[in-house]
Point group: C2
Chain length 252, copies 2
């Protein structure tokens, strides 16, 4: 029996949630297909088809989807855990896989979902323009209260094991997820992040972001045409909400 | 070596995210400890202590936490997946565990996190009273646009395998999560949910909610003192935002 292909089913519009999965596959050095390369219409059709549930798989609510042989699954953290365990990027032991998943879920919750929510505070189903004032308010609170808290938390994780990676000496997909999230937050809130990057208290987190991006296979991918631009995806740049954190500034 | 105990580390204030874990443990019929029973101060101290990371575990960001021997993990979906696989509630095959996790994550995203966000649209760090108008607006959009979409999705999952459970004939912890989420949404939006319950198009979802609650061990737990009341947790009742869905009403 031949090895089934790794198939990412996602739409082309921004790196999005699918990017964590792409980066994991690139780091592992395996061949995979990505419906993103088919263009919008074909990618959307593939998504709609697989969301219905087939071959013994339940219907799923939203992309990204992933197919590997007969298995079709959804949910970013779930796909990452499946691939991470299969491709040797989920830590050294079976128990580590759950520590790594906890870290990945925490990065996605705080530095991806919460950031997206600052741009769509009333509802993800309404246009940004219909909730612009609320978004500006939400962004300012997030930058002042949540962002420093998250950076301090990740700094503590990197410090606790002595680095260079979140799980110590073993590189895992949680490193990929954190680095990609930091990258997105830098795009969405450049002023806030530049200010925080200048301070030494988060040097491990910003250093980690660079170290992950410098890994040979990831660096090659990031420099390629396959890496999409941020635009109207999870991470959006809205100048009105991008402020220098007050608390952090006061503590200098 | 004796079997290590199952230890839930959470605080007493509402069923909360920890409830999914309690219900899984009750259904499995295993003995477990729950810091909730220690009262607020002791529970909080236990949380703070374990969040720091120890015994080779990384620091974690927020409860619920779970300890099983040397392993300490966070993140509700992650704890459920760990316990579900160990206690025979994650489906029939290793691959099913990822289908079940996808379903559980989708229920938690849509019917727990999104509901909590309608009460704290600007920020989870601000009081409800400081974002009351925004919350009312967010709740109305959610009830009209998102809630019917989620109910239709879960109806399709239950229909696709012929029931009685999400994975067909095999009961899994995804059933527990969906039922507990529906229970919470019924508390938060009683008027909206009563209206939707009267319609036949979601009969599988509402029937499923009852069937899970009627399982002997779960029914016994729900009738006990251990089951906490909803109050200021994820699910809050705010009358201003609880409306009869317009779209659904129009389609009758």
């Amino acid at each position: 029996m031949s090895t089934p292909p790794y198939e990412l089913i996602y739409a082309p519009f921004a790196p999005g949630r699918g990017e964590h999965i792409r980066l994991l596959l690139e780091e592992a050095g395996v061949t995979y297909t990505d419906t993103t390369s088919l263009g919008w219409d074909a990618a959307l059709a593939a998504n709609q088809e697989l969301l219905k549930g087939r071959d013994g798989n339940p219907p799923y609510f939203a992309p990204p989807l992933f197919r590997h042989g007969d298995l079709i699954i959804s949910q970013t953290s779930n796909i990452l855990m499946y691939l991470g365990s299969k491709l040797g990027l989920a830590g050294s032991t079976a128990e580590d896989a759950f520590r790594v998943n906890a870290l990945a879920c925490t990065a996605l919750d705080g530095l991806s979902d919460e950031v997206h929510a600052t741009h769509h505070p009333i509802s993800g189903t309404l246009y940004y323009e219909d909730q612009k004032d609320e978004s500006t308010r939400a962004s300012k609170v997030w930058i002042n209260v949540r962002l420093p808290k998250f950076l301090a938390y990740w700094e503590s994780v990197l410090a606790s094991k002595g680095g260079p990676w979140l799980m110590g000496e073993t590189f895992t997909y949680a490193d990929i997820v954190l680095s990609q999230c930091i990258d997105g937050v830098k795009y969405a809130f450049p002023k806030a992040m530049a200010h925080l990057d200048e301070k030494s208290e988060y040097r491990r987190v910003f250093g980690h972001w660079e170290q992950v991006r410098a890994r040979p296979r990831i660096a090659k991918y990031l420099a390629s045409d396959k890496r999409q631009k941020y635009d109207n995806g999870i991470y959006r740049y809205c100048p009105d909400g991008d402020v220098v954190p007050e608390t952090a500034a006061a503590s200098v």
